[in-house]
């Protein structure tokens, strides 16, 4: 297998999701990523690189190599 040329798009994007490294397709959006984690994203919020992304923008938020994604929900506490 030959090395990819620099002007070709990468086959995958390496991102960090809740502290773990994930390989996703280069056209993966935040919406698709959250759907992989939960089928019912009620009570869930997401931040990319420490910025909260409102849910209506999830489908328009592509993920790129190096992105840090935090996906949070409410749990028992306090």
């Amino acid at each position: 297998m030959t090395s990819p040329r620099l002007d070709e798009p990468a086959a995958t994007a390496r991102i960090t999701v809740n502290g773990a490294t994930h390989e996703v397709s280069p056209d993966c959006t935040l919406d698709q990523l959250v759907t992989r984690l939960t089928s019912a994203p009620s009570g869930v919020a997401a931040a990319v690189n420490d910025t909260v992304v409102p849910r209506p923008q999830w489908t328009r938020t592509p993920l790129a190599t190096g992105d840090r994604v935090e996906i949070l929900t409410a749990v028992q506490g306090g």
Partner: protein, 299 residues
């Protein structure tokens, strides 16, 4: 406890002037005594003055029964990473019973972390209310006052209704109020310690001058701690471990509910001044004389 028995207790209270200051020392405050006596935070009225946490419960089922026994109308949750195997949601329990959700920023050590967590909670839960926690270290879980005030200022500016978990420091409590917090929530003793209110005098000082509700937020171990908080002038009590880690959580939840109600009634009633010597409640006049030689001479 049924709603009717609760009503009968409150109905017994005469419509006397509310003592919003100085109840412990016997001084009376402004005369305003709404019969319903609601807790008002940021313009929102709550009937129950017991705010519950959800941490520490052995199961969702135990938690649900405890919450119902407590009569709480607002309950805290924490924000944590979504895990695919996340079990039955605490949110579904709260929604099923119409209990307001109060997200916290537990586990945050800096203002930046707390602000981001609050923004995520607002997005996830659709509430701009936040119980603001910025702790200094894991051993004491005491608030970091500098980071706390910084985060409070930022969140108030962003339109949040901020309820800060704070040290029992009257100066810090005033500064939190000055930046626009909707309540101040001093700790009685470290979170989960059950050591009660270690400095009741500070609570009195905070409650006397605060114009926003003062809420005991940590340290309650048993019912008398909750009652004392209310007697000292707190507007409400927030607790979790005392109930969720009790041997019988549902029973302790009911106990706390009664304690908060009892403490509030006692505060509003205005306690008698403390005296060094006894003061007879039976009349001294009209006492019979028996000529008993063993009776001691009157001094």
């Amino acid at each position: 406890m049924s709603g009717s028995s609760y009503s009968s207790v409150t109905d017994l209270v005469p419509d006397t002037p509310d003592t919003t200051i100085g109840a412990v020392t016997g001084r009376t405050g402004p005369a305003s005594a709404p019969a319903s006596d609601p807790l008002v935070i940021g313009g929102t009225e709550l009937t129950s003055r017991l705010i519950m946490g959800t941490g520490g419960a052995p199961s969702l089922d135990v938690l649900e029964r405890a919450l119902l026994a407590s009569g709480t109308e607002m309950t805290t949750v924490a924000m944590r990473r979504l895990a695919p195997e996340t079990p039955g949601s605490v949110l579904s329990v709260l929604r099923a019973h119409g209990i307001r959700v109060l997200p916290n920023t537990a586990g945050c050590y800096t203002a930046g972390e707390a602000v981001l967590t609050a923004r995520l909670a607002r997005e996830a839960l659709g509430t701009d209310w936040v119980k603001l926690e910025v702790i200094a270290d894991e051993r004491t879980l005491l608030p970091d006052p500098v980071e706390l005030l910084d985060a409070a200022q930022t969140l108030v500016d962003e339109g949040f209704t901020v309820l800060p978990y704070t040290n029992d420091d009257p100066v810090l409590a005033r500064k939190l109020e000055d930046v626009g917090c909707a309540a101040v929530m001093p700790l009685g003793s470290p979170i989960g310690s059950g050591l009660g209110i270690r400095n009741p005098h500070n609570f009195e000082l905070i409650a006397e001058r605060a114009r926003v509700p003062v809420i005991l937020d940590a340290g309650a171990g048993t019912a008398s701690d909750a009652a004392l908080a209310m007697e000292l002038g707190c507007a409400a009590v927030l607790l979790a471990s005392a109930v969720t880690r009790a041997q019988r959580p549902e029973l302790m939840a009911a106990g706390m509910r009664h304690a908060v109600t009892a403490g509030r009634l006692a505060y509003r009633a205005g306690r008698i001044p403390r005296r060094h010597f006894a003061r007879a409640s039976s009349p001294a006049e009209g006492t019979a004389e028996w000529g008993d030689p063993e009776r001691p001479a009157v001094e």
